[in-house]
């Protein structure tokens, strides 16, 4: 088992290298240069050129890339072209906010989606099932940012109950969390419902019922555990996706998080910032997926058997 974990961690390296290469290439194609960026629009061309030379900007692509990787391997990811601060300082200032929202969104999605999914499956074709399915379909079709805008109109402008931008109190997190959790909840609801339906039809459920187990035991002990497996995978993926995907929620509610950090950095061709942040997010994503796999193998002994040869 430990060998497997170690193998996964080592596999991270080529993936992160690949990610860094892709992002570096894309950023190289973006128009603009760091010298102009740091010194501003009014600076003299000679000053800009000499700064560019200093930063090694005029060297060929591969040389720049290898230099970057070499420095990064020692832990030096450079300073942001925009603010001059070390890139990871910028990231860690904003990371807690984004992580909080992402975590809250995932938890809310799970709390909303799974119970409704179970209910739908158990009472298939009933009114509850119908309403849930329609609701799920609807929730998956509503763009998060539009829901955010509508909620601001209703809850901030008309009713004045919730703050419409910034961070500070728990209330500030409510609306962003809701708009991020709703598509996820919809997805979970449908997935839970489908897997539960499949599981309930299995023979071992019929056996449990024949043995006299109460319906509650049947559902909770037997059906649920099996249905939960793909759900965990999806939840992990969603957490990873949300970490990068809060861009839109942050734009709507003016939240200073990682999403806005990347957006600004990309727009201003702040290469060190973009590289460091994307690498950070991609690594987090891979680590989360690894944890999800390990968790899955603990839950399902069949998977564990596959990995522990």
């Amino acid at each position: 088992m430990h060998k497997y974990i170690l193998k996964r961690i080592i596999l991270l390296i080529p993936i992160i290298l690949g990610v860094s290469f892709i992002v570096f290439s894309i950023m190289s194609f973006t128009p603009g240069d760091p010298g102009r960026l740091i010194l501003g629009q009014t600076a003299k061309q000679e000053a800009v050129d000499s700064l560019n030379n200093e930063l090694g900007y005029n060297k060929p692509f591969l040389v720049r890339y290898v230099n970057y990787v070499a420095k990064a391997a020692t832990g030096d990811f450079g300073n942001s072209y925009r603010t001059g601060n070390p890139v990871f300082k910028e990231i860690f200032t904003r990371f807690p906010t984004t992580m909080t929202i992402a975590l809250l969104a995932v938890i809310t999605g799970v709390v909303l989606g799974i119970p409704l999914g179970i209910l739908s499956a158990v009472k298939q074709y009933s009114t509850v099932d119908f309403i849930s399915t329609v609701a799920a379909m609807l929730m998956a079709s509503i763009p998060g940012f539009w829901l955010g805008l509508m909620m601001i109109i209703l809850f901030s402008l008309k009713l004045g109950w919730l703050p419409s931008n910034g961070v500070g109190s728990f209330a500030h997190f409510i609306m962003p969390t809701i708009i991020l959790s709703i598509p996820f909840a919809a997805q979970l609801l449908r997935m839970t419902r489908t897997t539960m339906l499949e599981t309930i039809r299995q023979d071992y459920i019929r056996t449990a019922r024949a043995k006299g187990a109460t319906e509650r035991t049947v559902i909770w002990k037997h059906a649920l555990k099996n249905a939960l497996l793909p759900v965990i995978t999806v939840a992990g993926m969603e957490l990873g996706a949300l970490l990068g995907g809060t861009v839109v929620a942050e734009a709507v509610f003016s939240i200073p998080g990682i999403g806005t950090l990347i957006l600004t950095a990309i727009r201003m061709k702040d290469i060190p910032q973009v590289m460091a942040t994307v690498i950070f997010l991609a690594s987090l994503f891979c680590i989360i997926m690894m944890l999800v796999d390990i968790l899955s193998s603990f839950i399902d002994p069949r998977i564990r058997a596959r990995y522990v040869k």
Partner: protein, 291 residues
């Protein structure tokens, strides 16, 4: 003789699927709504003159609420919102369909190669796909749009790059279980070329899942395009796009909420119709429900 023929006339598979789909009322509703959008997109110029109503600014008529003259009101530049929504359908549907088609093509080729040839080719291809999918897709599209510049073509390229790894996986997962089977070996023994084997024998199995996945994907793409345009990294003004319209509506949220409501409703309805249809198709294509 003809009586017997008509009684035992073989029903085509597509006809069967269509019959099953028709029974699903939700899916039919989706189909109708989608058709309305599609027709709006195709006949946009007939419904609303592009230059006069969509682009031309008319400061005297700005920010009018919905009326019989302007069905959905006018925006901050005096342009008719209904006209812009109709033309926006053209933009959104074009991007959605193009992206999916190209992604299927690219993903199909690469995924087939990975699944069919297996071994090291498979490993390399899937590692590259893993790497691409490790970057949050929105950010990947963002970075590409930033590098390529604004505009519809570049947006298309950016979103396609973010989308095709998913299709590569799907096609590969359809091909993998089939490749080891004996009929493939038999076809090879007959001297059938690789390409023909893939195209004629293996890929037809994939059509079902691909169609279902694609309808949902177009829905997601419509929302994604709107999101990117909303933060200013997508379709540029004055081109009408539902997300961009929402971005412009923010300033006037308080006084003219209809500017927020209508473009948003367009997005929701378009995505909803596609999701309903996709769901219905999935049920209709499921061979387990054959009766």
């Amino acid at each position: 003789m003809s009586q017997i023929e008509s009684k035992y006339k073989k029903k085509s598979q597509v006809g069967e699927i269509w019959r099953r789909l028709k029974k699903n009322r939700a899916a039919m509703v989706g189909l109708v709504i989608l058709s309305i959008f599609a027709l709006s997109a195709i006949f946009a110029d007939v419904l609303a003159n592009y230059d006069k109503m969509v682009i031309a600014q008319n400061v005297r008529e700005r920010l009018l609420p919905p009326s019989s003259h302007h069905l959905f009101g006018t925006d901050e530049y005096g342009r008719d919102v209904f006209a812009r929504i109709v033309h926006g359908a053209r933009v959104s549907l074009t991007i959605g369909l193009s992206t999916v088609s190209i992604s299927i093509l690219i993903g199909g080729i690469i995924g087939s190669m990975a699944g069919f040839y297996g071994g090291i080719i498979d490993t390399i291809i899937m590692r590259i796909m893993d790497t691409m999918q490790a970057i949050p897709p929105i950010l990947l599209a963002l970075a590409l749009v930033s590098a390529l510049g604004p505009g519809m073509t570049n947006l298309l390229i950016a979103i396609t790059v973010a989308t095709f790894p998913g299709y590569t996986r799907i096609i590969r997962s359809v091909i993998l279980p089939v490749v080891g089977q004996e009929f493939v070996e038999a076809a090879r023994a007959c001297g059938t070329g690789d390409r023909r084997i893939i195209l004629r024998h293996i890929l037809p199995n994939a059509i079902g899942p691909i169609i279902v996945q694609s309808t949902m994907a177009v829905a997601q793409l419509i929302i994604a395009t709107a999101a990117l345009s909303f933060i200013g990294m997508g379709i540029q003004p004055p081109k009408p796009e539902w997300g961009a319209m929402l971005a412009g509506s923010r300033e006037y949220m308080r006084t003219s909420p209809y500017l927020v409501i209508f473009p948003g409703l367009a997005i929701v309805l378009a995505a909803l119709s596609l999701n309903l249809l996709g769901d219905g198709l999935r049920d209709a294509l499921d061979p387990r429900l054959k009766n």
